[in-house]
Structures are given as structure tokens and as C-alpha cells.
Amino acid sequence: MINGSLKNLSQMLAKKEISSVEMTQTFLDRINKYNPTINAYVALDANKTLAQAKAADVRIANGTAEPLTGIPFAQKDIFCAKGWQTTCGSKMLANFVAPYDAHVITQFDNAGAVNLGKTNMDEFAMGSSNETSYFGGVKNPWDFDRVPGGSSGGSAAAVAARLCAAATGTDTGGSIRQPASLCGFTGLKPTYGLVSRYGMIAFASSLDQAGPMAKSAEDCALMMNVMTGFDERDSTSLNRPKEDYTRGLGNMQGTQPLKGLRIGLPKEYFADGLDANVAKVVQEAIAEYRKLGAVTVDISLPNSQLSIPVYYVLAPAEASSNLSRYDGVRYGHRAAEYDDLMDMYMKSRAEGFGAEVKRRILIGTYVLSAGYYDAYYLKAQQIRRLIADDFTQAFKQCDVIMGPTAPSTAFKAGEKADDPVAMYLQDVYTIATNLAGLPGMSIPAGFSNGLPVGLQLMGNYFDEARMLDVAHAYQQVTDWHTLIPNLDKPNLVLPEGKV
């Protein structure tokens, strides 16, 4: 059951083979067993969770169930959920109980989904290894010595370890896709503006976007149907007609379902810095796509190597301002002892934020400060346009762009924790789509030394349905996405015949 697709789970519930309460309890039992080790969840509340499951069972019984009704999901702890501890992985918010629901939470609630709990994450989503969380690191289910990636590391581990049916994540520079790659599952960052940011704790407002983290493209499509949609409370939410993201999946049958699809391969994504084994896996996946009828086109995204410098100006700048509200006045951490107002601010913030968050606040404050704005912030915004224009040019030659999601497989905990620059390079292939606001996806494409490798798909604006079709077609003919780690022997995970 724990490996069932969302569609399977939904059918099981509809046929009354299992109740939502039973299904939810099964996941809660697994969580109780494995979470103390993996640390994927930071907040659990079985009473609340089971009350939702009971309500879902009523909906199923009275015939008002929707596709996700009764299915247990994990929610990244970046989403405010009324009555739930909502910490964003920070000491600053360790005692914060959200008094309102994020739009995404409301959407899942309305769909009748069950909230299993809040998942661990890098503090304020700043990190690529989940090691910046105030609540401790998360184990990669494939190898407990390794990181799950970040910032959505808890959701990633929960999906990979089957501690939920699926999970939500957010992606500012790769925080859905890089952990999906490192933990071996399917994750999608939608076009900026498709999923409301209301109630999603802000990191870098112009880049943040929520998306699904799930076992397959099909599951992602079902979740997209729930997560997307116009929300008048978010000025950047796009008012577009509702889409059914599963609509094309059924067409991905036959020998060459992708006949005519043009796949762009940016030369910059296969250059120095990419692990050779990862490159090999990615090339094999692309070869599989050719078999499915696709043709490959060599393209160039000449400014893509600038995406890291641009990102590390813009994201910290926005973050430095977004995180100013954590001042110990109305909620959040306040220092126990302070002399005056200034001292209260200085101490509360110094104590409430971790080292990486403080670093980014300082960079952001610096690049926005008097005399530096033009050289850093303005310049970065100009190059941001060049990076976006590269994609506009590229999509004249191809329908979807493919490449690696991350430059390497999961690295060991502690390996990069003290080297921010090395850590930042984890997102070298994912950041450009955030800057451009384009959708990006990572799907399991194989293994390197027993660790999952992700293939990244990048699409044009609002082309999620096609990307999901393309991913689904691959998942019809491969089984990488169905492989699961052995949690009882996590360091001996080379799946048979799949090394």
C-alpha cells in the first residue's frame, strides 16, 4: 500500500478496501518507526491528522470525495497551517502556531486530503542539504550518512522513505528538484505565479514557488490539479483558467509516444563541474527519450553560468527584507535578557537565526546598502533578464530542455556544511529556471554508486502539462521511480541489478 500511486490509493479508498483512517494510521506507524532516525517530520499531531482522515471517510461514504480525498500528505513546514506549529526550520519560529492557513493548505483541505505533519527543512529554506535546520539534519533514506538535499529535505526523505503518500515542497533555487534528484523521486517546480504564495513563509518572494514532490509524474499531475489556481490574496498569483494536468497522460502509450518532441540539450549543463557518473546516467536517460521518438537539439544557454552570482544577490536581498519582520515584538523568539529596544532586536535576531540565514541577511543587506545597489542588485536584475532571454531563444528551437538536476549525487552530511560556496554550487542547474520563472522538474533516471540521479526537465511558461506527459512517458518504460530504499539496511542500498 505504501508504494501505491495516488490513483491506486484513491481507488482503494473508493472501493472501501481500506479507510482513510486505516491508511493514515499505516503511515503514522511508519513515521513513528522511522522518523526518530530520519527526522523528516518536525511536527506531528496524530489527533488532528486522524480527525481529518475521519472527515475524509465521511466524504468518501457520502459520495463527495475528490481524487485526493482521504490520502495522507506531508506538508513542508514553510506553509502556515492553522493550529499547527509552523517553524520554517528556525529557532525564531520554534513556538509559532499558525493562526491561519496558507492557500496551499486550504487547497489540500478542500480536496479532503489528510495532513500527516510538517516536514523538516533548511532554515527559512536557505540550504541544499537540510543541515541548516534548527531541528537537525535529515537522513537520506538511501544512505543515512548522506544528506537528502534541500531545502525541502524533510519532504524529500518522507517521499523516498514512503513516510507519506506524497509531499509538498517549495523551490526558490532548486529546493524541490535537487532533493528529488538526491532522494530519487519526482518533483516539479511550476511556473512562477501558478501556485499562490499566500501563507507560504517568504524566502525570496520573486523566486519562491510551491510544487509537488511525489513518486511519479502522474502523482505530481494530480497534486498540481489541487495546488494551482488563482488566489486574490497574492498579487503575483496568475489569473488563468484551471487546467487538468493529467489530461495528456493517457496518450503516452505505444512505442513512440513522443514522436516529434524536440529536446534541447544545453551544452553548458554538460560541461565542467558535472560528475562523470551523473553525466552518464543523464545521457542514458536521454537515449531512452530518443527511443520514445524524441529528437535532441544542441542548444546554448550562454548566461546560465551567471545564474549563481545573480541568485546570490537577488535571493539574499529579498530575504534580508522578508526576514526583518522577525524582530521579537509580536511573535517569534525574543531574547531572555536585554537592555533596551536596540539590544532586544540585536540579541533576539542573533539568537533566533542560524548561521546560514544570518549570512544571507548580511549579504542581502550589503548588496542593497547605499552605494552598492547599482553594482549588485540592479546589475543582477539586468543579468536576470539576459538569463530569461536565453530561455526564450532556446524554446524557439526545442519543446523541452533536459539536463542534470544536480551536479552530483547525495553528499555526506557535514561535507559542505562549512563551505557555503561549495554548497551553493549544488543549485547550479536549477537556479536559472527560478530566475526566469519557468517550470522545472526532476525525475529519477538511474543510480550512481547506489545513489539516485535525477534528470531535469525544463519547460516553457505554463507548459507543465507537456512536461508531465514527457516525464510520464519515460516512467512508462523505466522503473527507476518505483525503486525504494531499504530503511532497515540503509547503507546497503545498491538495488539488485541497478547499480
Binding site: 493562526p99 517568504a202 518572494s205 498579487s235 527584507s321 526583518s324 529596544l341 542593497l368 546598502s369 545597489y373
Partner: protein, 496 residues
């Protein structure tokens, strides 16, 4: 050395909306602390701003009213600083691209001493939309301040002038003009006590003739015209004395203390500010199209100046009266209501000339008579116990010669005291004037017979004697005779 003061103003006008600039919280004044602070006002994690349509329309109205450039796109920026009444740690404002660009306001500077009154054009640099901060309340708990965020997020339009003013009188004339204007176009209630209209005044001095501006100090948050005059005069004197004593002026933010009449630098603003402005990523560019402007323009009534010119040119009103009537939307509305009521009552044969003459008289009654009653009782015209329709009825009785102007004053007094309508009061007090020419002639004959000496004087060429005779006749009629008729008939009788 002769010094020149240079003054520029930044005025925060609270816009007439129901809800906040970026959320659906109420902005009603005087609510219990933090009961109008929704999740956006409190800046809970994850909340986002959405701009108030009404506030944007107010800004467009203002731009149209001062003939300003209203750009197709403007941008919201974040002004970053820490303060307990600023819950997000930044204020959403407009920095590089404001909603209203350059415009101008013409001010009337009143005569002072031997200096005659004059007009001056004050250039407006810009006006931008922003949100207000909350309030710090002191003294509730020893050593602590209490933060009330009810006001946080209230829509403001900040109106910034060029440093065009050269005296406290000019600055106050501008502030008053702006105060009139924002109420005239109905974008602000103008309530200075509640902080709906607050001025920051930048003051610097320089030797007369020098082109370069001196270093300015900014007097914050002046909420009365009287304080503004006092503060500018004190600040100017202080700066001149400092310079003459060989000192220098440091750029500073100062507060005016009404008790001492002095300005003093704020301690909290000592630190050099680095606001780190950048475009707010949570908000998109604000677009104002030609169609938007036309739509707003269509909702706007005639400007103060248009109405002023119509009163002076078409209705032959005295310029001072016309200015006074158009100084406030409320006075204007009252005056126009009286005119409208009068037109309903008026005899159909009334000529345009009579109508105009009436308007002139109505203005006099509204500005001088009603005005002095309001002043004495400290009432607003909207609170006047004499309603426009009551005044109109009374005035119609003057115009149709039922009562004299003097009698009307008694009628007005009675109406003010709540003694009823004009008709009833005239009846009760017997104020109807004598317009029967036979009766008046009879009175005149008595007067002429009783005052032969005056008649002789008149015949000898003394004009004064004529007025004395009129006076005697009015007295004999107990003030009820129609003075115009007395004049006419007396002339005839003396012309034999």
C-alpha cells in the same frame, strides 16, 4: 547679513478609504488597540499585500487636480528600517517611480502688515502612495512602550513640494491650500487632530542672494497650522543665530514642542539612515491608463478655481467671498444648496440680474452672518443649526421685501436658537416690513411736518439732512418701513 529661509513640505494625507492600503482591515479611528490589525497589519509570516483600488483612484484624482504628470506605470518599493510600530521591518512606499509626477498648486499668501497679499505657484515634485505605521503608546507599563497596529497599513498619499517657499506665511498658505484641495476633491477628511493631514517641513537658511541651499533640518509631523508657523519661525531664528554665532547646521530630524515653542533633534533618528530601497517583489507595477484617468476625471466635480471664477465673473460676487465659499467643499455645498432652494421658491419672473444680486447677498449671509455664528460657537458648517433650506426661505423674504435686512438678522438669530421657521418667526415677532406706499406716505408727511428745520437744511443743499429724515421715518415705522420705498417717496415729496 540678510538671510533667506527656504522651505519645502512633505505632507502625509490619509486617504478616504474603508480598508487598508494592502489588506481588508478597517481603518476606523479610535478602535481598541490591535483590533483592526489583521494578519497583514501584524505582518504574520507568509502574508502578502494586495493594493487598494480606492487609494489608487484618490491618487489619480489628486494628480488630475494639480495637472500633474501621471505616468503609465509606477512601482512600489520597500523602505527598510527597524521600528516597533513598523511590523514588517519595511514600509511599502514608492521611490523611483511614484504614481503622481510633477504638478503645481497656486497659493494665496495673505497680506501681513504693509506687505500686500500675493499669489505664488508652488511646484509639486511628486506624490506617492504608501502605508502608515502603527502607534507607540507610552506609560501603560513602566519602562515599556505598547504597540498598537490599528493604524499600520492605513493608506497615505505623500505629497512633496519643491523647496519653493520663502517664509512661514508661504508654507502655511501652501499647507492650507493643500488642505482645502484634498478635501475639495474628497480624497482626505482633513482631520488634523486625528492625524489625517500631517506635514513634515524642511527648513534651511542661506544668505540672501546665495544660490546654494543651506543644510536643511526636517520638522516632523506638524498637525496644526498654528504650530507650523511657530515651528518654522523658531527653527529659522535658531538656524540664523547658530550660523551668525559661527556654528554650522547638521542635517537632522527635529520635533516641535508646542509647550516650549521650540524644535529639538530626535534622538532615535541620530543614526544615519540607509533605507535599502528596492522594488517590492510582492507587488507588480501599478498601471494607470488614459482610460483610468478619464474614468476618474468623470467622477470629479468642478475645481475650486473654476467655481471661484464663475462666482466672480458670472455672479458678480466679491472675490473675497468667492474665495471663502470655495475654500471648502462643505461651505460650497451649503452655499449651493441655499441657491438651489432659492431658485425653487423664487417667482418665475425673476430676472438673471436679480438672481445674480441674490447670489451676492446669499454669499454675504453665509460667509459673514452664518460664519460669525459658527466661529463663536466653534461649530463646523455641517453642524449649523440653521439648515440651507431654512436660510433660503428667510432670504426669500428679504428678496420679496417682506422683511428688511435688519429684521432678517433677528429672524436668523431666532432660527439659530431653534425657534422655528422664518415665516413663523416673522409672524410671531411682527417683523413684516411696511411696503404699502399709502401708509409710508402718511408716515413721511408726519415726519416732514415734525421736522421743518431738516427740510430747510436739505433745501439749502445739505445732503445729510435727507438721511436724517429717512432715519426719522424708519424710526416712526418702528423699523418696519421698506427703506428703499422710504427713500423713493421722500425724494418725490422733497422735489416739489
Amino acid at each position: 547679513m540678510e538671510w533667506e529661509v527656504v522651505i519645502g513640505l512633505e505632507t502625509h494625507t490619509q486617504l478616504r478609504t474603508k480598508s487598508k492600503q494592502f489588506s481588508g482591515a478597517s481603518i476606523t479611528y479610535g478602535a481598541q488597540p490591535n483590533t483592526q490589525a489583521d494578519e497583514v497589519s501584524v505582518a504574520l509570516p507568509g502574508v502578502l499585500p494586495v493594493l487598494n483600488k480606492q487609494a489608487v483612484e484618490c491618487a489619480i484624482k489628486f494628480g488630475l487636480a494639480i495637472n500633474a504628470d501621471i505616468p503609465a506605470r509606477s512601482v512600489f518599493s520597500r523602505k527598510n528600517y527597524f521600528y516597533p510600530d513598523l511590523p514588517k521591518g519595511y514600509q511599502i512606499s514608492q521611490f523611483e517611480l511614484p504614481v503622481v509626477g510633477k504638478g503645481a498648486v497656486t497659493i494665496q499668501v495673505p497680506a501681513v502688515g504693509k506687505n500686500a497679499a500675493y499669489e505664488k505657484v508652488i511646484n509639486i515634485t511628486r506624490a506617492h502612495l504608501e502605508e502608515d505605521a502603527g502607534k507607540s503608546v507610552h506609560g501603560a507599563v513602566e519602562g515599556m512602550s505598547g504597540i498598537d497596529l490599528n493604524r499600520a497599513g492605513t493608506p497615505l498619499l505623500e505629497i512633496v513640494t519643491e523647496p519653493d517657499m520663502r517664509s512661514a506665511a508661504e508654507a502655511v498658505a501652501y499647507a492650507k491650500k493643500l488642505h482645502e484641495l484634498v478635501q475639495w476633491i474628497d480624497i482626505c477628511d482633513g482631520n488634523m487632530q486625528e492625524g489625517s493631514f500631517r506635514c513634515d517641513v524642511n527648513v534651511s537658511v542661506r544668505p540672501k542672494g546665495q544660490e546654494k541651499f543651506g543644510t536643511r533640518r526636517e520638522i516632523k509631523n506638524l498637525n496644526s497650522f498654528k504650530f507650523m508657523t511657530q515651528a518654522i519661525e523658531y527653527e529659522t531664528r535658531w538656524q540664523i543665530e547658530t550660523l551668525e554665532d559661527g556654528g554650522t547646521i547638521q542635517q537632522a530630524t527635529v520635533l516641535f514642542n508646542p509647550d516650549t515653542g521650540e524644535t529639538k533633534a530626535m534622538r532615535s533618528k541620530e543614526e544615519a539612515n540607509d533605507y535599502r530601497y528596492f522594488p517590492d517583489p510582492d507587488l507588480l507595477p501599478l498601471e494607470v491608463t488614459a482610460a483610468d484617468k478619464a474614468r476618474v476625471q468623470a467622477t470629479m466635480q468642478k475645481s475650486q478655481n473654476e467655481e471661484y471664477l464663475r462666482y466672480v465673473n458670472d455672479l458678480n460676487m466679491f472675490p473675497d467671498d468667492a474665495r471663502a465659499i470655495t475654500s471648502s467643499r462643505q461651505i460650497y455645498n451649503y452655499f449651493e444648496s441655499v441657491l438651489a432652494e432659492l431658485r425653487k421658491i423664487a417667482v418665475p419672473t425673476a430676472t438673471q440680474t436679480q438672481d445674480n444680486a441674490n447670489a451676492k447677498s446669499v454669499a454675504n449671509w453665509v460667509i459673514n452672518t452664518l460664519g460669525s455664528y459658527l466661529n463663536k460657537t466653534n461649530l463646523d458648517i455641517s453642524e449649523s443649526p440653521v439648515r440651507p433650506e431654512q436660510l433660503a426661505k428667510m432670504l426669500s423674504k428679504i428678496f420679496d421685501n417682506t422683511i428688511s435686512n435688519n429684521a432678517a438678522k433677528q429672524v436668523f438669530e431666532a432660527m439659530w436658537m431653534g425657534e422655528g421657521e422664518a415665516d413663523a418667526i416673522i409672524e410671531a415677532k411682527g417683523l413684516k416690513q411696511e411696503s404699502d406706499s399709502g401708509a409710508i406716505e402718511a408716515i413721511l408727511d408726519e415726519v416732514l411736518k415734525a421736522n421743518p428745520a431738516m427740510v430747510e437744511e436739505f433745501k439749502a443743499g445739505k445732503e445729510k439732512a435727507f438721511n436724517a429724515l429717512v432715519g426719522q421715518a424708519m424710526k416712526a415705522s418702528k423699523g418696519k418701513a421698506n427703506p428703499a420705498q422710504v427713500n423713493d417717496l421722500l425724494k418725490k415729496k422733497l422735489a416739489f
